[in-house]
């Protein structure tokens, strides 16, 4: 996150905390001790993106090499699992090597190599486990991904891996649930349950102020996984057999409840709201939930959460997703263009009406600190 608002130095912060009695006697030393820890997670985002791109390309080359040379049998699970584990262990060893002070160039190289081998190892391991589950390779992929994610998450500190690995696992679960190969009657129930559990979990992890940084990538993985699921639900990408059994109102209701809870906790904790604005906001959210798509409510959840807990990536994600889901919703509405025009205009008038209400009640003023 870039600096927002005014410039504040550490000394200013420490003095302010001491004046407010919010800093323990050894607090100053504890703060300074935090600055000495440098590693992959201290790289700016654009450098991490560069590391990720390089590692991905290298990993693809190694997979290509193994495939073309037939050094390992891609149809045999044993080779894949063993080689995969070997690569994962090598990646972890490289990561441990990184933590010791050394030259910057060596550290940069080892980080790249480590991430490359981790991607390669996980890919091979998951493929190997998938082959063990004949005729159920989908669930084999999920189990393989889950095993390797659980095993490596506490040890391997690369945040990109810590986000992508759980995300892959969650996405594989979802794709298995919507696959036409699996059961037909139960799956809509499971899909709803799966999405709702993710929403609750993501909300808990993001709202928990004491959440350790180690868990943040999982929270983001949950957020992205929910997005993937909602895209499939809203854009009708499931098979017709699944879609005919699926009722989106349950997910809408769950997201509406989640949004109202978020507003109550976040706006309430800022002490700027009274009962009336909260009731008005809740009513508006319920109305949006009744006439709109799950993706729209989800986007608003991300925006409110991102603004409330000052997580810019979440705010940006919600801002980017909102027009996508709005367009998708109205495009897929089973109405003619004239009716869609009315629906859009009506929704816009409703929101501007809410805006006018806020202006009339003087709720749209900036609060001076």
């Amino acid at each position: 996150m870039a600096n927002e608002g005014k410039l504040l130095t550490v000394e200013d912060l420490v003095r302010g905390l001491e004046q407010e009695g919010l800093l323990a006697p050894a607090g100053r030393q504890a703060i300074e001790a935090c600055f000495s820890d440098a590693g992959e997670n201290d790289l700016p985002l654009y450098l991490r993106a560069l590391v990720g791109v390089g590692a991905f390309v290298a990993c693809a080359c190694f997979v290509g090499f193994l495939s073309v040379t037939h050094l390992i049998n891609f149809d045999g699970s044993g080779d894949l699992i063993v080689l995969g584990l070997f690569c994962v262990i090598a990646a972890i060893a490289a990561d441990f090597l990184c933590r010791h002070p050394g030259s910057v160039i060596a550290q940069s190289f080892i980080v790249q190599v480590s991430f490359c081998f981790m991607m390669l190892g996980k890919f091979l391991f998951v493929m190997g486990v998938a082959w063990l589950f004949k005729y159920q390779e989908g669930w084999g992929i999920t189990i393989g991904a889950l095993l390797i994610t659980v095993a490596t998450y506490p040890i391997y500190r690369v945040s990109l891996d810590r986000c992508l690995s759980p995300l892959f696992t969650l996405a594989s679960v979802f794709f298995n649930l919507i696959s036409p190969l699996h059961g037909h009657g139960l799956n809509p129930v499971l899909i709803n349950l799966f999405i709702i559990v993710q929403v609750v979990l993501a909300g808990f992890l993001f709202m928990n102020g004491r959440m350790r940084r180690m868990i943040v990538p999982i929270a983001y993985a949950l957020a992205f996984s929910i997005c993937i699921a909602i895209v499939f639900v809203d854009f009708g990408l499931m098979s017709s057999a699944q879609a005919s059994h699926f009722d989106t109102h349950i997910i809408n209701a769950a997201l509406v409840i989640a949004l109202i809870t978020l507003i109550a906790r976040l706006a309430g904790s800022a002490k700027e709201s009274s009962k009336e604005p909260l009731l008005a906001a809740s009513l508006l959210v319920v109305l949006i939930g009744l006439v709109s798509a799950a993706g729209v409510i989800l986007s608003i959840c991300f925006m409110v959460l991102g603004y409330g807990i000052r997580e810019r990536p979440l705010l940006l994600l919600g801002t980017l997703l909102l027009p996508v889901f709005l367009v998708g919703f109205y495009y897929n509405l089973d109405l003619n263009l004239m009716a869609k025009s009315g629906a859009l205009t009506g929704a816009g008038v409703l929101l501007l009406g809410a805006r006018s209400y806020m202006g009339w009640r003087k709720l749209d003023r900036a609060v001076q600190s």
Binding site: N3, E20, V53, G209, S341, T345, G348, S369
Partner: protein, 347 residues
């Protein structure tokens, strides 16, 4: 040894002076995660950094933006539904009315301090393009698409100049780039000798505007935002990559225009590095330049390996894989060093 902190905006000097370390949100979260500050202290720190969350103001803006967007979309759908039934006079008249309404509202709001005024002017500029398209459709003028974009760009120049709005300048540049591309593909007799000349023109044109932007940013206050620079840099690098990659991959059909384009592209990379490293230090732009350079190097190495070992795909992969790691490592290392140097100069 200078420890390098997350977010790139805080760095500890050799004398560990906390008076010089700037705080950002990520640093506060890191302190909280390490237990250096309590949850209450974290809340205090975040409020000190970014004064009180203005929920009311934020929600009001969100409702206004989304509400207006929905109403405009409703209007578009209305026109789409009734398009065949609407007479040409109403089609053109309604667009002109909308355009004038935006202009009057922009004038009333003012352009200097009010974002809504500039957004209205941007909307009016966008409507000019729609009006020209409808005009061409109604009167079946037979004009080529490039002529539409050319007229669009010419007509909105005055508004773009007075707007003092980066987004409108970027819209204008986008329209002009589209005009150049369409003009080239629709009117030029493209022989093999000149097939890559388009990219050279695009590079030169956009570099001129980037140069003007950099020159003016020191004088004109509103050209301060970095995203306009990054957008232009990325666009130019994309145009530069095409002839560069083509000249690497083409074995026998390297036209003169391709070679010139590739030389120009190399010059652009070198020039950008010099400017954004020494004159106008900017890490995101440097990261884009390094990524572009890495792509070129990767393609070159891959092509060389495939040529040397034509029947051995495995060897090609074996060479490219570790080389990729090396190339990107060098890029990351160089960027980290540059970043540290720049921060120590500004600290």
């Amino acid at each position: 040894m200078l420890p390098f902190l997350l977010g790139g905006s805080a760095i500890m000097m050799q004398d560990n002076s906390s008076e010089r370390i700037l705080v950002n949100g990520r640093l506060i979260e890191k302190l909280a995660a390490h237990g250096a500050i309590t949850a209450k202290a974290r809340e205090y720190a975040l409020n000190a950094l970014c004064p009180r969350l203005n929920w009311g103001l934020w929600i009001a803006r969100l409702l206004s933006t989304v509400g207006v967007a929905l109403i405009l979309s409703g209007i578009v759908y209305f026109f789409a539904f009734n398009w065949a039934k609407i007479s040409p006079a109403i089609k053109l008249g309604s667009l002109e009315l909308a355009m004038f309404a935006c202009l009057i509202a922009a004038y009333a709001s003012g352009l200097q301090r009010c974002l809504s005024g500039r957004l209205l002017l941007l909307s009016a500029s966008a409507l000019v393009g729609v009006l020209l398209a409808v005009f061409g459709q109604v009167y079946q003028t037979g004009a080529d698409a490039y002529q539409l974009f050319m007229m669009w760009a010419i007509l909105i120049i005055p508004w773009t100049i007075i707007s003092e709005f980066t987004a409108l300048w970027l819209l204008w540049l986008g329209v002009v780039n589209t005009f150049i591309i369409l003009w080239w593909t629709q009117t030029s007799i493209i022989s093999q000798r000149v097939d890559y000349t388009l990219f050279s023109w695009l590079i030169i044109f956009n570099c001129v505007f980037l140069g003007l932007r950099e020159y003016a940013s020191g004088i004109v206050r509103w050209i301060g935002d970095r995203y306009s620079r990054l957008v232009l840099v990325i666009a130019i690098l994309i145009y530069a990559l095409i002839p560069l990659i083509a000249v690497i991959l083409e074995e026998q059909g390297r036209s003169l225009s391709m070679r010139i384009g590739a030389l120009l592209a190399l010059g652009v990379h070198a020039g950008f590095y010099g400017v954004f490293r020494f004159k106008r230090p900017d890490m995101p732009s440097l990261a884009a330049i390094f990524l572009s350079a890495c792509i070129v190097v990767e393609v070159a190495i891959g092509k060389a390996a495939a040529d040397i070992f034509p029947r051995s795909g495995g060897t090609t992969y074996l060479i490219v894989g570790p080389t990729t790691l090396g190339v990107f490592t060098l890029a990351v290392y160089q960027l980290r060093c540059i970043g540290k140097t720049l921060e120590s100069h500004h600290g």
